[in-house]
Symmetry: C2
Amino acid sequence: TEVSARVLCAGGVTKNDVVQICFDYSLFGGGLGFHYGAELVGASVIPGSNLDPTRQVVIARDYRTTALIATPGFAIRLAAVVREKGLGPADIHLKRGLFTGEPFSERTRKQIEDELNIKATDNYGLSEIAWPGVAGECEKKKGLHIFEDQFIPEIIDPRTKEVLPLGEEGELVLTTITKETFPLIRYRTGDITALDASPCGCGRTLIRMKKVAGRTDEMVTINGVSFFPSQIEHIFSQIWGVEPRSCLEINRRGNQDIVNILVKVSEKIFFDEMKKLQDLKSKVEREIYQDLGISVKVKLVEPDSFSRETKGKRVIDKRESS
Amino acid sequence: TEVSARVLCAGGVTKNDVVQICFDYSLFGGGLGFHYGAELVGASVIPGSNLDPTRQVVIARDYRTTALIATPGFAIRLAAVVREKGLGPADIHLKRGLFTGEPFSERTRKQIEDELNIKATDNYGLSEIAWPGVAGECEKKKGLHIFEDQFIPEIIDPRTKEVLPLGEEGELVLTTITKETFPLIRYRTGDITALDASPCGCGRTLIRMKKVAGRTDEMVTINGVSFFPSQIEHIFSQIWGVEPRSCLEINRRGNQDIVNILVKVSEKIFFDEMKKLQDLKSKVEREIYQDLGISVKVKLVEPDSFSRETKGKRVIDKRESS
């Protein structure tokens, strides 16, 4: 709670703010984590939860929300709803937005800031340690301050596991200092970043990390939910009996991530087999939604087109990258 | 928070319980209301939120949930998932369930208790006053104890507005004693019940109210969400330009409430008009979902069948009644 409150303070939230939290209030830490943090700051909290963007805009207007907490993708969808309703940024009262949960390029930041007329800051955390609340950007937007009294950050070379000197890019490794229920020592986050100890204009002396530039593994984040391709392969093998050769294709359409799972179909398929395959397809889609909480489409592709498209990769990410 | 904790205590929840709350954690009071209450009791709280029943069962098993908080309809869907998975009540560790949010007959109670092998208690509240937390059943299950140090209950004749003697059925009227932000004096709840001041086997001296037997107005509750038919008519008039003659038809299928809106179509319809009508239909369905949070199907019916089916009613409720 305290670290989440600090993230909010770094992002400029005060007790005079009305904070609308557009994160799932479930086992997922985002909703309740920010909720308790905002209460500690003394702000008024609106549990927007996972209501759709249209209702969130109505709520934001009715309650005069000043601070938005969401994924960057959700903020862009909100901005689109504001436009569709013929409203401008002046009709809503947003001043700032704190974003997390998915990659967030400077171009996306500029788009959100322009469309909603707010200051947009990034923050970082992970469920295993604290989410939200490992690090947060201040209003200078020059990297995320890590709460060093709570967490010791190190950067290692993910291959050699050697600790790298300040400023070099590598995998972030965290050690918790104060955590009692689930302490971790030199936990490899899998996130690629670099540390910057130079003084920050905001006055905070805490070290800063750069925006996360990628992963050391194949972890994928879709609309704020993280998973590994192997989890999807496991579901396939349970339902299909055998694990088909598959590949995730991720697109961004209308500011939402769309996931297709391309599955190689190796033989000629007859009509009755087709019917059976369709059933298996829907079953896999349903199971993936139930287990991982993400919507996907399974697409059957011919072996030829498959190898041409994927070149042996398990994930093809066609979204913008920073 | 305190009244919600009392409801939980009345239902038998202690600090040794693992409480899974299957209510929306949003502006709707159910999720966060029970959450804070359960924390005050000292129980472990699992924010199940509005995850689907299959995931809730997985969570309940993993975390060894002992107390379930949900709508009765949701409990029945959970029990169905447990059966489908080939599990029995012994495989999950539930001991008690606290239910609210929709009508709850003795037959439904028996079904839930048998299928999940739990004690099921009912409780009562309303958003305008306290939800959860106006009244709750104790383990004797002989009516809901009203927290009389917080709320003064009266029963009136909804027609004459006269206060009725103890035991007679009428509309519940509540006055708040301790509420500061939004106090209410003699607030007409619209709920039909009766009071019972006879001693209760549990030792509590608080007066009891019977299960709510109906409404004085046309308010409808669908899967835990309450609304008035006039709200739906308002959406129609905004989208169709004119308010068509319509009627809500509510069915229960597979333990979920299904709502059809029957709309009278007065003229002969040509193919291109049909297309336009279909668009209007989807638009109304979408708007109702966004505004009220309920899924409905709009059905166009011929004027004849319409008058025969509805006999001038705005709502036909085909669900079981207590």
